[in-house]
């Protein structure tokens, strides 16, 4: 596994690139207070809407705030939101799907209909309504994202579990007298989780996109929090000042690309079908 990971780094440039990009953003977000040259929320109206320069690498916004600093700090929110959403939605969906797939029958039927209902629902609108219900701040937005995201995991997990539970090692465990819960937790879930993990990596990118989309629509964290989506949304008003919306947009984009590259790479690495082609 480690050996093949090493091989991946050597052979799959896109994967390597993805890892580099994501690591860079994560490090930047963690070390934001060290890296960022300015306070992300302090205004300086004398330096409004300045183009990128040596003082302000990414220029300034309409309050004269340094966009580079804001982008660096912004990573904290976007990344956190993306990762947490995926972790929570993944956990809920995985368990839900595993139970549905493993128990089967009517239980499966009802559970899947329920998740389908949410799936068939326009996700953005659902998120908007949830946000309206709960009020918009970072955590409520994440909550909305989780609600929207988990059914996808549930479905994936269910389909994997359906095939995994046919494996003879599951029957073997049953023959030994293992309880259903034990079989689910020890046999079924560990062997089904890989594809969920792969999906989760790619999904981090999607969730960051989704989160920034909600922020763009004005549902997200409260200003002046430097959140990427909101920064793009603010920048839309300064359309001809490309840097105001451009850099935060680029940040979202690169982060999503990075996550996708990693996800793709992992898929190649872990999916035995593709793996044999290496």
């Amino acid at each position: 596994m480690l050996r093949s990971l090493k091989k991946m780094f050597k052979s799959n440039y896109l994967f390597t690139l993805g890892v580099i990009i994501c690591l860079a953003w994560i490090i930047a977000a963690i070390l934001a207070p060290v890296i960022a040259p300015y306070d992300p929320v302090v205004q300086d109206l004398t330096a409004r809407l300045q183009a990128p320069s040596a003082q302000h690498w990414f220029g300034t916004d309409n309050f004269g705030r340094d966009i580079f600093s804001r982008v660096i700090y912004g990573g904290r929110y976007s990344l956190l939101a993306g990762c947490l959403t995926v972790v929570i939605a993944g956990a809920i969906g995985t368990f839900y799907g595993a139970v549905a797939g493993y128990v089967g029958g009517q239980v499966d039927n009802v559970m899947m209909r329920l998740s389908e209902m949410i799936l068939s629902f326009p996700s953005l609108i659902l998120a908007m309504i949830i946000n309206a219900v709960m009020g918009s701040n970072l955590f409520n937005t994440m909550f909305a994202l989780v609600i929207v995201a988990w059914p996808t995991y549930a479905r994936l997990m269910r389909s994997v579990v359906l095939s995994v539970k046919e494996n003879e090692y599951v029957t073997a465990s049953e023959a030994l007298g293992a309880s259903k819960i034990r079989i689910l937790m020890k046999e079924v879930i560990p062997n089904s989780i890989t594809s969920v993990l792969i999906m989760a990596t790619t999904d981090i990118g999607n969730q960051i996109l989704m989160f920034s989309t909600l922020s763009f629509l004005g549902l997200g964290s409260a200003p002046p929090t430097p959140e990427w989506g909101m920064m793009v949304s603010d920048g839309v008003d300064y359309f001809n000042k490309f840097w105001v919306a451009g850099f935060p947009g680029l940040a979202i984009f690169t982060m999503a690309v990075g996550a996708n590259f990693i996800g793709d790479g992992l898929r190649d690495l872990l999916d035995p079908k593709l793996r044999k082609q290496f």
Partner: protein, 330 residues
């Protein structure tokens, strides 16, 4: 059997696979000849290179990871290893055909069976749609499919395993190839169905004079069907002999072990003899005779130097130091 016509000659064929774990020498200096009308059986344990060697003949080794690293395959004077993809396409399905182990997955699920058979006719014989279809139906009847006119318009999943294998055979034989390679065509089938298929192959071999290379791990099948047998172990041929001679008097210790390990229906049921140990890991390189770690007769010489193919009689060869001196006698 006086003027036997050689149709295929393989010389020192080597095939390698590059895998994550290392390089696998799947076929190692394989040489043999196939005569016209001959039924050649290849037996050996799983992973011994049976399939790869036959895929090598068709230039169908998945590349990457596989690659033919040496050797020649002469078919009608042409070296298939050096043949271009275009030339190979003319040969495949036309001169040399192949059927595979998995009848369930070897047919395209979304194309009707008749059409799949007709396809090679249209490809190689340049037939039009209609006459190709007629010929396909004829072929289906020839391989014993009842009601071929109806069956031709069915999809593979509507047929049972035995039926599908017949369709595969009909497809392979449609263009009346010189050589039919059958890679474990009956392993997935029930014994009663297997018997039907074996009879079919034997009949076709007689009526069409097609040479058959029959790959299997079931020595019983070889014994029933084949004229000549090749026993493979870790990419090598360890023994080659006419079928009767081989089963009556196996020479190579591996062949001997293999034969003794087969359960037979006898009254007194002697306990099975076993070959100790396991087939070595394919990425490992073994110096000397590759069977030496498991061989009860292994000597220091076996472990150091690889034995050559030793010609015992006109039709028998064996790769074992035990027979090194006998060669001179012969």
């Amino acid at each position: 059997m006086s003027q036997i016509e050689t149709i295929l000659e393989i010389k020192d064929l080597c095939v390698e696979f590059k895998t994550v774990e290392g390089t696998v020498q799947a076929v190692d200096h394989l040489s043999y000849t196939l005569h016209k009308g001959e039924k050649l059986g290849i037996v050996g344990e799983s992973g011994s290179g049976k399939s790869v060697s036959s895929l090598g003949m068709m230039q169908l080794i998945p590349n990457p990871p596989g690659k033919i690293t040496g050797g020649e395959i002469f078919y009608k004077g042409q070296d298939l290893v050096k043949a271009s993809e275009k030339e190979m396409q003319k040969i495949r399905g036309n001169e040399i055909s192949m059927i595979f182990q998995e009848p369930m997955t070897s047919l395209n699920p979304i194309i009707k069976c008749g059409k799949q058979i007709a396809e090679s006719l249209r490809l190689h014989r340049g037939m039009d749609k209609k006459s190709a279809m007629t010929e396909a139906v004829r072929m289906m009847r020839a391989v014993g499919i009842a009601n071929p006119e109806v069956r031709a318009h069915e999809y593979p999943h509507q047929m049972s395993g035995g039926m599908r294998q017949r369709v595969m055979i009909a497809m392979a034989l449609a263009c009346r190839p010189q050589i039919l390679i059958a890679d474990e065509p009956t392993t997935a089938l029930d014994v009663t169905i297997q018997a039907q298929i074996l009879d079919l192959i034997r009949d076709l071999n007689e009526s069409m004079e097609t040479s058959v290379i029959f790959i299997t791990h079931d020595l019983g099948v070889v014994s029933e069907l084949c004229d000549t047998v090749i026993v493979m172990y870790t990419g090598h041929i360890v023994e080659k002999a006419p079928a009767q001679e081989l089963f009556a008097e196996p020479k190579h210790p591996y062949t001997v072990g293999l034969l003794n390990a087969i359960p037979r229906i006898t009254k007194d049921r002697p306990p099975l003899e076993t070959i100790e140990g396991m087939v070595p890991n394919p990425t490992e390189r073994i110096t000397g005779c590759s069977f030496s770690p498991r061989c009860p007769h292994a000597t220091a010489r076996c472990r150091e130097t690889e034995p050559p193919m030793i010609q015992l009689s006109e039709q028998r060869t064996v790769r074992c130091w035990l027979y090194a001196d006998k060669e001179k006698e012969a």
